[in-house]
């Protein structure tokens, strides 16, 4: 092939050769990863299948008929989980923001509020969720102070109490990461303390901590399953009932898979958003 004359539209011979090389490299690496994945999967599969107890485990954990039989009940339970999750997310957003804002208040007047918020976050970040669930789910109704509410209601409350503590800490870090000049600039425009928080500080804080918040959301998505300990017939509880009826653990596997499917979109979204945020920061954006 004759070498082309150098001009600014056609790529040079050197560049063409480089491109061809890169193409060959790409094809090769795709082929290599494909082959190695297949080999790896086959090895694992053969190892597991040839274990002495495999047939027994397959029957009691991966029985398709049992899965199909359990499906309606487990799905119905999952719907309960989703409802609880939806309410809890709103509750956590509100209480978490409130706690974070309380902790950033300055001035001696606010000392009691600040201290209370700090004590709250310390307490609920330390307490295991399952203990909060038992205490709130069985303890609070026992006070007979509130109208009788369902276990689902108290389970939701317990989730909100625990996760608000985490989320408020994340928020607080975000609020403190907003440059102090931004606050001064807002105040010097005549915005009140509340307006400064609402219009200037919180929106920037939320942007900074969105990936962390999304991670907390993913964690909460699966912890909703714990409300089953209060007797709420959610996906986990439904699976437990089905398991007890058939002496077969497949419903648990089914419920687990459904939880994973529920979480996947959010997990992917978190990865995508985090990558985008990093890219923006690298081109010099502030937010």
């Amino acid at each position: 092939m004759p070498t082309r004359p150098f001009d600014d539209t056609a790529p040079s011979a050197v560049e063409l050769e480089r491109r061809a090389y890169r193409r060959r490299q790409t094809t090769r690496s795709v082929a290599v990863s494909l082959v190695s994945t297949i080999v790896f999967a086959a090895l694992i599969w053969l190892t597991v299948v040839n274990t002495p107890g495999f047939e027994r485990v397959r029957q009691s954990f991966f029985d398709l008929d049992v899965a199909i039989a359990a499906w309606p009940r487990v799905i119905e339970g999952l719907w309960v989980n989703i409802q609880v999750l939806a309410v809890a997310v709103v509750g956590v957003a509100l209480l978490g923001t409130l706690l974070a804002v309380l902790r950033t208040l300055r001035g001696p007047v606010f000392f009691p509020l600040r201290a209370l918020a700090a004590a709250y976050t310390d307490l609920f970040r330390g307490l295991p969720l399952i203990i909060v669930l038992f205490l709130v789910g069985f303890g609070v109704p026992g006070l007979e102070l509130f109208p009788r509410n369902s276990a689902q209601f108290w389970g939701t409350i317990a989730l909100i109490l625990t996760y608000s503590a985490y989320v408020s800490e994340v928020f607080r870090a975000g609020i403190e990461a907003v440059h102090p000049s931004q606050r001064l600039a807002a105040r010097s425009l005549g915005l009140s303390h509340g307006q400064t928080m609402r219009i200037v500080v919180l929106p920037q804080a939320v942007r900074k901590v969105t990936p962390a918040l999304m991670n907390d959301f993913v964690a909460m998505q699966k912890d909703v399953g714990l409300i089953s300990v209060l007797g709420v017939v959610d996906a986990v509880r439904a699976a437990q009932i089905e398991t007890a009826q058939n002496f077969n653990f497949t419903p648990y596997v089914l419920a687990g898979l459904l939880f994973v499917l529920l979480a996947l979109p959010m997990i992917r979204l978190t990865d995508w958003y985090t990558a985008r945020l990093r890219a923006r920061e690298q081109i010099g954006s502030i937010v």
Binding site: Q182, L184, L189, G190, L191, I199
Partner: protein
Amino acid sequence: MTGGAREAAAGIRPASTDAVLRLQGVRKSFGATPVLRGIDLEVREHEVVALIGASGSGKSTLLRCVTLLEGLDDGQIFLRGDDISDPRVDADRVRARMGVVFQQFNLFPHIRVLDNVTLAARRVLREPRASAEARALELLDRVGLADKAREYPDRLSGGQQQRVAIVRAVATSPEVLLLDEITSALDPELVGEVLDLVRELAAEGTTIVMATHEMAFARDVADRVVFLDGGVVLEQGPAAQLFAAPREERTRAFLARYRGA
């Protein structure tokens, strides 16, 4: 840019004094370190006052006290005769009557340029969005930034950002514009465009108090230069006089460091 309409809106009557801003014996310490040790200063309508002084002499502190972002230890500050250092005054109301631009991080990065400019009018003065935006666009157009109105601030150069910050500060027709070293974070080639805007505002009669290290600009634009040293106003006078023939030895020494620079 008439102050009259705004005063009427805020229900404040101009007092019978021609000083827009008056500081009387203003003191401020941080812990055991006194920064301002009795500042007396008067700024008249349409006057441009440059605050100069060594780094750490308290120029920023002084401006922050005026905007009530910092409380006073003693003394009084009057804005058109109203004692704004009185703890009973509504500080947010007072701040809305001034325009402030800092060294950097003035603009809010999460809202567009136009929203930055109209924020105070909409949220503090409760002006309808349409009229606030119309005026903001006019102002942005004047400084050649109308095409950036829908952009986010991080898409603008540092000089453009500072010009927007100035536009935002004057958008509500403040009684006094306070500028704190607005060009010191900029690359040298961007300083000119920002100072040109200040020069224009000064020519239009805006009352300005600016802390600055740009001596040439201060000499050129300021009606009066105020030299802060040791927590007091050591010397002040018309720009030409103070630069050409400073009376105090310390002023001379300070200015000598800028000669030739």
